[in-house]
Symmetry: C2
Subunit: 371 residues, 2 copies
């Protein structure tokens, strides 16, 4: 019994590693990996590369061919049971006459939600669900949150000194963290559906907010050539209609979406306007995020902005994950704070997180915290 | 050759672990451990427990007895060559007819400084110096700095939110970090020669700045009963002569030293006055520290105070080590900053450190940085 269990984890771990290869490209689809095993030999493997292209199971079954009969498949997410752009994977596994399917976790997508498991089971295939579930959850935290709640998974990135400062009083901020930390940020950007920022950041830092493929991991570069690298959508909050279209950001590859209160379009190629027209003079962030998840299939938002947006997101409890890069220096009390929280009155109300990891990135310390 | 070398490190590691048992009590002496080995058997071990009591080598030789002849000793610091409160350890090792002595590092104490090594060598004993030197340095960073520079080793402790805040605007600060982190602080306090604070902290927090022996590690409690636990001297900066003697701190076990610009004594038992009478109206911290090292044999200073003293120490480049406890919360821009640096004008001038470790302490993150 224990041996089976260890075997299951062993193969599922490999399926998860495979799934990760798609993490820069599958959005809005989840990352999925599949391993097919017979007599303790891997006879098939595959992962989902890009929306519209075949699912992980299809690649793995293709590789296994007729050998798939009586084999065991390890899939990081419940196989789909519906006709989307591709036929249902559950049916493909049934057709290939598998003996057993091990699934890391059920798919909360309402079009699947246990139907894939039921379909396999009804066809007489032995199904095991719940192997390395935590890792499988982590793999698709954006997709899963959107499916479960209708809201995207929000990661707020901050680059600060030890004393929580993001710029000198003069505004000088280039650079607080090291170039290694800034490269690390590239990998997070590349995995996200979109990068959220503000008009102020775009204009004052002349930010491009793109993914520079040269800074991606080598295993990814081997699979995706630079022109296949996906540029996350840049979403810029511009509630006062101040963006002119001449900013650096509009000269970059990929799309830029501008969020305004009213219809004042910026006529640039690859630019789209999102109107968030609630009564408040500021953009209603909860409404915006809901709209992005439900209308635009945005699973995850990577936020790079100033202390005001950071504070607003925190106060409105919209942040799932904080990623803080601490440079090992002190900037003192005159420097600019990393987080504006105007409504925080006493200590017991302070927004709290849980430290998930603390890792050296070059000379800086990267701390990841979750809600 | 490699085997010998690994053996040397193996035994020296044990000598270092032994030395650590004295870390709460030996001040102003260094921590030293000694292991005596013959035919790959440990036949003697000892460590220095307290100033005035025998050195590590004496205990180890006592245990080894006549077997010490032709054995190898591992000592974490060069054996002394002078008559202090105890006779020279080098002579004891020679008299016991050891074959070889392995020493982690030379003692920079001018009364030793290579003389112990020379004495052993002159007597025909094979001497190896430089095994696990880095660990041996870490063991006595206070003592070594004082011997080398005439200044104490300064550790500045800060307990802060993720955004570098140490209190709400209202002054509310109990508690930002968790009780586990506060217990961790106890261990650092207990290892230091003294605890430095200010009149403001002593009065506003009603701080006692003592070591509560219940919170010390079990191995230490087994060796030192609670009454044998050393209370580090509390040194309080009171440049405006505002301490009355009625504060909580004067009711505690151990000594309190008050630092003033002029002779206005506080008549309390176990209280001493230190006059730092330089022309400046503030206490000259460099002068004070030099005086503490040279007149009072203070090896190390553990600083627990507010943002002003923290900033002054940083600006005057007097901090060797920062110990920051980050509570996983955000207090926002209105809260109080951890470090007042009035003279910092631009980013390139920002005081820089190197991260040595980042460790979870309960729910908080402890980051240790060195200059």
């Amino acid at each position: 019994m224990n041996i089976t269990c260890d075997n299951d984890r062993f193969y599922m771990q490999q399926a998860i590693e495979l799934a990760k290869l798609g993490r820069f490209t599958t959005t809005p689809n989840p990352n999925v990996g599949c391993i097919i095993v017979k007599d303790n030999q891997i006879i098939g493997k595959g992962y989902h590369k890009k929306a519209g292209q075949p699912h992980a199971e299809v690649y793995a079954l293709q590789m296994a061919g007729d050998e798939a009969k009586d084999s065991t498949a390890y899939v990081t997410l419940e196989p789909c049971s519906h006709f989307g752009r591709t036929p249902p994977c559950a049916d493909a596994l049934i057709k290939a006459q598998l003996k057993r399917v091990v699934i890391a976790m059920q798919d909360p997508n309402p079009t699947v939600a246990g139907n894939g498991i039921k379909r396999l089971s009804d066809a007489g295939i032995e199904v095991t669900v719940g192997v390395l579930t935590e890792q499988a959850e982590e793999l698709n935290k954006g997709f899963l949150k959107r499916m479960r709640t209708g809201m995207p998974y929000v990661q707020l990135k901050l680059a600060t000194s030890l004393d929580g400062k993001i710029a000198m009083a003069s505004g000088e901020s280039k650079w607080i963290t090291s170039s290694v930390a800034r490269q690390d940020v590239q990998k997070f950007r590349a995995q996200s559906c979109c990068i959220l920022s503000t008009r102020a950041t775009v204009q004052s830092d002349n930010a491009s907010l793109t993914v520079r493929d040269a800074e991606l991991p080598d295993d990814i570069k081997q699979i995706y050539s630079s022109e296949k690298i996906r540029q996350p959508v840049r979403i810029i909050i511009d509630s006062q209609n101040k963006l002119t279209g001449n900013e650096n950001i509009f000269k970059q590859l990929g799309e830029t979406w501008i969020v305004r209160k009213q219809d004042m379009p910026v006529t640039k190629p690859n630019t789209k306007l999102i109107i968030e027209s609630s009564a408040n003079k500021n953009i209603n962030l909860t409404k915006l995020f809901s709209l992005l998840a439900n209308n635009n299939q945005i699973n995850s938002i990577w936020v790079e902005a100033g202390a005001h947006l950071a504070g607003a997101l925190i106060e409105q409890d919209l942040v799932d994950e904080l990623i803080i890069y601490y440079a090992p220096k002190l900037l003192g009390h005159n420097a600019k704070d990393m987080c504006i929280l105007p409504n925080l009155q006493n200590l017991s109300m302070a927004p709290k997180f849980r430290v998930k990891s603390a890792t050296m990135v070059g000379e800086d310390l990267r701390v990841i915290l979750k809600k």
